[in-house]
Amino acid sequence: MGFGDLSYDVAHLLGGAMLLISFVLLYQRRIFALVNALALQGGFLALAALWQAYVQAAPQLYVTAAIALIAKGILIPIYLRRMVTQLPPARRAEPASGIGASMIAGFLLVGLSILVVLPATSGARALAREDLAIALSIVLLGLLMMVTRRSALAQIAGLMTLENGLVLGAVGVAGMPLVVELSTAGLVLVIAVIAGIFARVLHERFESLDTSVLDPHRGEGS
């Protein structure tokens, strides 16, 4: 198997598309659009895994692609959508705040991950290293999203996009055992369900999905 120019370019294209969607997630305030973007990112992840399976002639990656499509492209978004529809319309969007700052921080994080990964991986295959840089960018953007957003659902979306970045990195490396990938996918589903249960409890208890309502209950309540 050879790594021609095409395999390289397509892998970059798909990874780049995922990264772009991460930026969409970063600024999107309406929860419905957020879930749609997440589903789209899951779809691109499935395509990226499919492409790697074809290029690397690694049959187990087809399974990864199928899992990504079913879990991240279909099941989790459907589940999150159902949760959003149960919310009153007023809670389906977050108050806008500081988009510019978080976008700039996002750009800086992408730069940071390229600066960290590329020199460190000079010995590895070019395909793997640049995929890893994109993957780390997506992971860091997911982190940023979890830090800057206050809605519980947006934080869950951040965690999910972070996992997408991890899987993108894993398929690029082609070294993760199938068992691990299967169980990881299972865990992500469980995480989504647990997060959903939490969000519901939060909503019932505090009539809000804004996690800042939790702050007064923190620490040593006197």
Binding site: G123, A128, V139, A152, A174, M176, T184, L187, H217, G219
Partner: protein, 475 residues
């Protein structure tokens, strides 16, 4: 045998879910069988395969089984006061056994990927149990636990991916070795020929990721809340078991990365985090007003000590770290049994509400006092032995750091002794309910204290040999 250690709690979880009315008794039964298996494992020959029992993890398995068994006994009494309805009681007991299964899998799995999955599964079980009280504070604690550990564990997975990438060029054909590529043993053998830059990168992510779970500063903030707001038995297994699994993961990452001569020595990272953790936790212990949070912070402090010990390295440093992990599991779970019962008796877990315990309930009060003295590092408990060992090991490697270590130990130790005086001695505070200490608390409490004393004064030959073997394996 190793497989049954994992399957027994899985079966236990299924039975607890199927028969919620007998769940508490089934929980004890399953834990007793696991304890028996763990004791038998001690004498069994080292197992090979995807589950490996070696000198490093076998004692941790035994400690986990002991803590699991005594926590099951304690929880049968403690949970009865919570007044859980049938679904919640079912969820609690099934999650408890599920957590035990995940913990044994995390300790025994040779494949680092499976270890990662197991630690994450165990964490999710704990998150559910922490949220069970459904109070606003419990939901806040569980959400923080969930989000922080979710992020942490994701970073750890990224570290594992980088580790796999580093091993790939030296492991031969990428597809052919896929199953063996994350094997701890294989990685250790390959690491010396891998790319040092990638190994450095991998270790940073592994340390931050699993360090979150181990409660190292600055990723510690979930820990006191999760300990304080969940049911007390969960605090006992969180401190006694989950932190050990996270530390073992860091230790495995360290020993892989350290196998390459050109990497930045991973011990330095561990030592810096360890000292920051020890000092911050030591001073924070002085400001605690909630008794369960006090012990949560004390767990952070002890994880800092363990990180310093593993960072110091060498046979003595690793021995000190491992011994400290064993001792901490036993003593901290004992302390949680005592303080959990005391909070029930006095009707609140605020330190101001609990006082004069040794006068009103001598067996419980003195047990708590001894456990706190042991946590403060006083003899004749094994934490004293491991702290002395650590100080001597550190004096050999970096003598100028010894005063800093002693300062940290002193600040934390005096804070605990000060708290001990307030909780156990003086005039007894009023007691709303006519409750006694109860055998289900006293037996596990004193048994743990006795075991920790045996670890210090007369360690069984099998265990001391394993300790030495494990330390040699690591250094």
């Amino acid at each position: 045998m190793t497989l049954w250690l994992i399957l027994t709690p899985v079966l236990g979880a299924a039975l607890c879910a199927a028969l919620p009315r007998h769940a508490a008794r089934l929980n004890i039964l399953a834990s007793a069988i696991t304890l028996l298996l763990a004791v038998l494992l001690l004498g069994a020959p080292p197992a090979e395969g995807w589950l490996r029992a070696d000198a490093l993890n076998t004692p941790l398995v035994l400690i986990a089984a002991i803590v699991g068994f005594s926590t099951a006994i304690f929880s049968a009494q403690d949970i009865a006061h919570d007044g859980f309805d049938v679904p919640r009681s079912r969820a609690y007991h099934a999650a408890f056994q599920g957590f035990m299964a995940a913990h044994f899998l995390a300790l025994l799995a040779d494949n680092l990927g499976i270890m990662w999955v197991a630690i994450e599964a165990g964490t999710l079980a704990c998150v559910l149990m922490v949220a069970l009280h459904r109070t606003p504070a419990a939901i806040e604690a569980a959400w923080k636990f969930f989000i922080l550990c979710g992020v942490g564990i994701a970073l750890a997975l990224f570290g594992l991916i980088v580790l796999a990438l580093a091993a790939q060029p030296v492991a031969g054909h990428p597809g052919g070795h896929a199953e063996g590529q994350l094997s701890f043993i294989a990685l250790r053998a390959l690491a010396a020929r891998a790319d040092p830059n990638l190994l450095n990168l991998a270790f940073v992510f592994l340390l931050v990721g699993f360090g979150t779970k181990a409660g190292l500063v600055p990723m510690h903030s979930w820990l006191p809340d999760a300990h304080a707001e969940g049911p007390t038995p969960i605090a006992a297994v969180l401190s006694g078991l989950l932190l050990n699994a996270a530390m073992l993961a860091i230790l495995r990452g360290k020993s892989i990365v350290a196998a390459h001569p050109d990497t930045i020595p991973p011990g330095i990272f561990l030592m810096v985090l360890g000292f920051v953790t020890l000092l911050l936790a030591g001073f924070s212990l002085w400001r605690r007003r909630d008794a369960k949070r006090l012990f949560g912070w004390s767990s952070i402090e002890h994880m800092g000590i363990v990180a310093i010990a593993f960072g110091t390295g060498g046979v003595a440093g690793h021995m000190a770290g491992l011994l400290h992990l064993w001792g901490h599991s036993l003593i901290k779970s004992a302390a949680f049994f005592a303080i959990g019962r005391a909070a029930r008796i006095k009707g609140g877990q605020h330190m101001a509400a609990i006082g004069g315990l040794a006068t009103s309930h001598p067996a419980l009060g003195w047990g708590l006092a001894l456990a706190m003295a042991a946590l403060a590092g006083l003899p004749p408990f094994s934490l004293f032995a491991s702290e002395v060992l650590l100080a001597t090991a550190l004096a050999g490697q970096a003598p100028w750091l010894v005063p800093l270590l002693l300062l940290g130990l002193l600040v934390a130790g005096t804070a605990l002794l000060h708290a001990m005086q307030r909780l156990c001695f003086g005039l007894p505070t009023p007691q709303p309910l006519p409750l006694g200490a109860g055998l289900a608390t006293l037996l596990p409490l004193w048994a743990h204290l006795l075991l920790a004393m045996i670890l210090c004064l007369a360690m069984p030959a099998t265990l001391s040999r394993m300790l030495l073997d494990a330390a040699r394996l690591l250094s």
